[in-house]
Point group: none
């Protein structure tokens, strides 16, 4: 669910955008003044921002500058002004796109999608890798390394490890694990857990008999610790 922050002071535009975006599965927050916009952006961390330049309390360019101080979320500027000077000013102040009113909803939505797509690609450079002192888990590549050798895991082993690592630090109940990895029908086959946990420890822990990262909490479940 993509979070969008819409900043505009005209109620009818706000309403039209809110409806159109909500229908398409966006999570919409709105603000009708510059100050409220900056507060909302700080609170909600929207993935994309739609900014109307004609605000009552402050210049749109100032809002943009305020956002760019700490956020790199893509900003699409809306404006009634078609002056090329205005466009240049907004784009150079950090806007990612500039749409003049009145605008077609189809085109606007396409530009929004483009902005979101690009925004999503940017901070993606770092793989979600989890490191411990005895092994490394790459959740995106589904790869596990110990020392510098790659460790081969079976689908079930990986399923358990993934579930535990995604909830690192937290306790994962036995039933949740079984439901996630084997399916709802196996919620009582706690024996499987013991077999596969042992297997994972043998493959990953330095000393499998005294596990330091794949911890069992007797009677409750298991926990992954970095």
């Amino acid at each position: 669910m993509t979070r969008v922050l819409v900043i505009d002071d005209e109620p009818q535009i706000l309403r039209a955008l809110r409806i159109n975006l909500s229908v398409r599965g966006y999570e919409v927050t709105t603000a009708s003044s510059g100050g409220a916009a900056l507060r909302a952006a700080a609170e909600r961390h929207p993935e994309v921002i739609v900014l109307d330049l004609g605000l009552p309390d402050m210049d749109g360019i100032e809002v943009l500058a305020g956002l760019r101080g700490w956020s790199s979320a893509p900003v699409i500027v809306l404006s009634a002004r078609t002056d090329s000077a205005d466009k240049v000013a907004a784009l150079d102040a950090g806007a990612d796109d500039y749409v003049t009113k009145p605008f077609g909803m189809d085109e606007f939505l396409a530009r929004l999608r483009a902005a979101v797509r690009r925004g999503a690609a940017a901070p993606d450079t770092a793989d979600p890798v989890v490191v411990t002192d005895s092994f490394t888990v790459d959740l995106a590549a589904k790869k596990v390394t110990k020392g510098d050798a790659e460790v081969h895991l079976t689908p079930t082993e990986w399923g358990m490890l993934e579930m535990l690592v995604r909830n690192k630090g937290k306790l994962v109940g036995q039933k949740e694990l079984l439901r996630e990895v084997w399916g709802p029908a196996y919620a009582t086959e706690t024996h499987y857990l013991r077999v596969y946990l042992a297997q994972l420890r043998r493959k990953l822990e330095d000393d499998p008999s005294t596990p330091r990262h794949l911890i069992t909490e007797a009677g409750m479940g298991y926990r992954f610790q970095e």
Copy 2:
């Protein structure tokens, strides 16, 4: 010095852009056909691409798709068409901006700066040519070489190889592969994978029976390793 690739078939526009961009310190490469454009993009690694949709040899959208296969450089589309449908199509095909002709040079340059700025945040690490010790894959030219001889691949073989190489190092699930290459309806025909993987290995691996680059992870999927 920012590298820009300008793709257009109208000499006067090409000339105008070349002059304007050069004066402002950009390093300009030009191409006047889709094929030349893809080659130039693969060679020069431009940081931003300006693409006119009206090309003589292929549809602009196809050029865009060809670029997006391996490059994440921002693309600004130029077009004489103002139809919202055209804009939507281009933006959804991976364009970052859409400027209709005739356009103001100031605005265009501002949009270019915005695109470059954003592109700089997401460094383009993707190399269209992937090399292993037994074969070479050129994602831009859709060509595979082994030793110094070109290897002929069927469309299906190429589809699989491309998908795997694009996700190099990562594990690609069987369903994802089938969906991408054969379509959503074939998500369970896992047998195809075995047949075609064997074929690819026979054509590419030095010792097809002990593959070193096209690895299978039993029960999960396949992985390409350099």
